[in-house]
Amino acid sequence: MEKRVEVSKKPKFTVTYQKILVVLLIGLIALFALLEEGIILKPSVLFGLTENVVEVGLMALALTFIITTGGIDLSVGSTMALSAVILGWTYETTNNIALAIVLCILTGLACGALNGLIIAKTKIAPLVTTLATMSLYYGIAKIISGTKIFSTYPEGFKFLAFRRLFNIIPYQFVLFVVVFVLFAVFFYRSNIGRYLRSIGYREKAAKFMGVGVESVKFGIYTLTGLVCSIASIIYLSRLPAAKPDIGLNLNLEAITAVVLGGTSIMGGIGSVTGTFIAVLVLGVLRKGMQLIRLGGDVYNFILGIILVICLISFSYLDSMEKKRSGG
């Protein structure tokens, strides 16, 4: 009996980083279930875990593409805030929700396209570019809104956040999963995914290989802008208050999710699945903190420590891999 177990175990059970992350996710759920008498295991709570992190999750999925190419986008939070403010402002002045949503999405696309244009066409590093556009978009949002908070929206607007499929699964979670599947197919099963990884690994080689580096870069930054505007719509359906400050910490949190998912910030290694699991980890952590009544700053603290541990273990696994392949 025991021998058979060993034989069946032998064929390639490699410890990948994503598997550790799944264990971490299950462990966290178990921990919070023990601490709070299993409230977290109720289906409505379990599926509602993502309700706080869907917008971060969407941005993190898009950011995975960017970070895989070795770039970074710090302006995601500001782009989202600007889109939200544009939506609120348009609806308040014209009372036309369709126009407001169209303008919101166009804003996101424009913000992303500006980032993409600067990064693809000039030699300015993505970190600096998006640092600059981060304060630029935040400033524009502040100029538009001033001290006002746009908080009037039509009734049907709350549909995404508060209706549930089969009365269990929130529609925003469904949207998140759909976007994840789309991104995963793109990332793992299309040329584009390979292009992204090759750019991240060695940009010059990718160029000689025939990859249109500039157009790929422009495309992913624009895509991120689009995703940010969608995230802003979800945010507003959950919390109907559009003001410039809503995106302040989101860029750090989104990058945290991507890095926690095992995407290397140096580029070349990326994992959309990892990002998805990491977003769920963030959701569990945040919901669990609410359940045991600890505030947002403790959440930040624990998040920071988990991130440090994961980064160290990731680099350790990476060096082990190199050692194994080296000799």
């Binding site: 304060s135 630029l136 910030i265 140096m266 603290f301 991130l307 440090v308």
Partner: protein
Amino acid sequence: MMAKVSRIQGVSNRRFNPAKIFNREMVLGIFTLIAFIILYAFTNFKTEAGLTTFLKDVSYLMTASIALTLIILTGNIDISAGTMMGLCGYAAAYIAKMGYGFHIYIPVAIAVGVGLAGLNGVIITRFKVPSVVATLAMINVHLGLFILLPQGGWVENLKSNFSFLGTTTILRIVPVILLISLAILAFFLWFMKYSRFSKKIYAVGGNSHGAVLAGINPDSVVMKLYLLEGVLIGISAVLFYTPKTVVQSNSTYGMEMLFITAVVVGGTSIMGGKGKLMGTAIGVILVCIINRAMIFFGFQDYYSYAVQGVIILIAVLFTVTDFKELKHGMRKMLPSNQRTDRRGNS
């Protein structure tokens, strides 16, 4: 770039060349001077209070930006500098509240800074975690620490034993803290020009692998710089908080962007290996002037974010533009007998 290479190799090219005077720092300096004159002439900035506030801003920003310039020159970054500064300031204020003078609380602030920055350095050099994400994680840790501190990281009703350093002025205009930061700047200008260690910084930032082949240990250089950054951030925290009577440790969250703005505007490449400390000094003054100008020309506070973004973009565009290439392009327009071959590259 060429001048720098020859300096590293110890080859002197001291021949006076008027074209070389007109470099990036000079252009930036002239621009800053014009901005200052406009501000001085057209607003009531020239009142004593206005000038003193401006100089106080310059002093803490200068110290922290010097620290970040050194870090960025090696190709690393520290985005937890803002929150780190808050923790150093809290420690200093907490000690000062117990009645100790500045000869006690400044070393305490420096010690906290060295500890926190040293932790960053260990994570980055020992565990090979990229500096952007390592310090990103540390931001979260620091934010969590704020709430664990007594009274949520606030120290109120500070007596004159804390604030006299920040409020003392010479001739009622020049604050003492400015002199401290200028002394630090002068030391580091000397350090970057004449010390052997500064050449190692450029070597590690320019080409880490090449530095290893030249017998330099990049990890040890980076680690030393993080410790040095801790010292400077500790001093900067003291300079920032001493003019106040209330220390609110989370008020510095996000200030790292201001530091990075000053460094980048000053012409230091975020990829490492290129940049001058003099540029950072001018960049700091420019950033402060712009912030003041926003207030004095009657824009509301929120315009400054948008303007700051545009300024970073313009300044960096200026940095990455290859002037040799541009000159070459202009030369192409000349008739062919006046052309010379293009030599060297960027």
